[in-house]
Amino acid sequence: MNYNWNWHIFFEPNPTGAGTYLDLLVSGLWLTIKTALLAWVIALIFGTIVGILRSLPSKAASWVGFCYVEFFRNMPLLVQLFLWFFVLPELLPRAAGLWLKQLPNAPFWTAAIGVGLFMSARVAVQLAAGIASLPRGQKQAATALGLTTAQGYRYVLLPMAFRIIMPPLTSEFLNTVKNTSVAITIGLIELTGQARAMQEFSFQVFEAFTAATVMYLAINIIVVTGMRFLERSLAIPGYITGK
């Protein structure tokens, strides 16, 4: 392979004039983490609401939940980001659209909200499945104890369901981290974006991508290890995942 390897490139100054190429990549890594965390909060909030809707006995509620999930699941994430970024400001009243377009850090907010809503549909499906997996007696016992529906969810169903779906939620969080890289298309220069920029400035393609790869692997290993501890401490005794 006639390719000029140069692993020292990371310590050479980058063309922006501030620091080395490594600094560039690390700033991309932070942006990836920041975007993913905000998106995950959004995904959890909306996913919980929609997941509850889907599990309610009311036909209308579960229909709304079904439509929400189908809407966000049947379009590519890239197309959804384009809709939020390019289409939404044009369809709003003029003043609101202008305000949106001039928002500082627009790619960051669009990416976090877009990825967050996209992932919320998947969180909703997991949560609905988690609630459905609980024995029917739990809900009935909550009612028999005089808890309202809201109290039943708050104190009985949700704490159980969330602990049961911990493993799939871990992989959904990792998907959120990975999906932030799609925002490169709306101009968010996160980790993949910085690796691409480094490749264009320095022509050291494989070094740049190797560094980004190692950083993504590191995120994965840290999250998986951390979640394993959390899963173990939150496991419900008597369930397969429990002790």
Binding site: N74, P76, Q80, F82, V182
Partner: protein, 230 residues
């Protein structure tokens, strides 16, 4: 709010969108699913084989691919495939590889990791008595896989495999980052040429939505039919 929109731009660009763009997307989806299924099955067999080293290698490959974002993998292969081609053909310089080949290789290698997990679950869902009966009948390992285990595993996992193919169909839109005219790329080219972002992106979203909805409805029907048979 739709006052100054011109939806005629969609009608004018329909032939380009579907004959060039959508046929690229569908071809890429179909071939990647097929290639991913073949390689994925091989990887699943490696993971379940009694040679520990083989299983370890396959497991590492799957974990590695699954922890990387698809966009990064697309970039990796876009730059790597010319060198792989040079190495395979023994040419003196990195060979030129077309956009389609490059993205096809990417998606096959990437999806193989995901398909292999599905096939592994499928193979494990076959009761142990079946391969045992096969070997009692004198079938070799490859015969028992070929005639007994894999057909059933494939059949049991068909709905999941098809769902993954729908995900793949949506994911092919990411070749946009290489400026390849797949369906979304074609829509985006027209959008930027005519300054009609709103119309074109809304239309692209609608097309993806309708196709994915119909496909997942079909998968649900299929799942119901298979469930009754078993």
């Amino acid at each position: 709010m739709f006052g100054n929109l011109d939806f005629d731009v969609i009608r004018r660009s329909l032939p380009y969108l579907f004959l060039d763009g959508m046929s690229f997307t569908l071809m890429l989806t179909g071939l990647s699913a097929l290639g991913g299924l073949i390689f994925g099955t091989l990887i699943a067999l490696m993971r379940l084989s009694s040679y520990k080293l083989l299983g370890r290698i396959a497991g590492l490959y799957v974990d590695f691919m699954r922890s990387l974002p698809l966009v990064l993998v697309i970039f990796w292969f876009y730059f790597l495939v010319p060198y792989i081609g040079q190495w395979l053909t023994g040419a003196s310089r990195p060979i030129r590889v077309g956009a389609f080949t490059s993205s096809l290789v990417t998606f096959i290698m990437f999806e193989a990791a995901y398909f292999s997990e599905i096939m592994r679950a499928g193979i494990q869902s076959i009761s142990k008595g079946q391969p045992a009966a096969a070997s009692a009948l004198g079938l070799t390992y490859s015969q028992s896989m070929r005639y007994i285990v894999l057909p059933q595993a494939f059949r049991n996992m068909l709905p999941v495999l098809l769902t993954q193919t729908i995900v793949l169909f949506q994911d092919t839109s990411l070749v946009y980052v290489l400026s390849i005219p797949d369906f979304l790329g074609a829509a985006s080219k027209v959008a930027q040429r005519d300054g009609r972002l709103v119309e074109m992106y809304l239309f692209a979203a609608l097309v993806y939505f309708v196709i994915s909805c119909l496909a997942s409805y079909g998968v649900r029907r299929l799942q119901a039919r298979i469930a009754i048979v078993r």
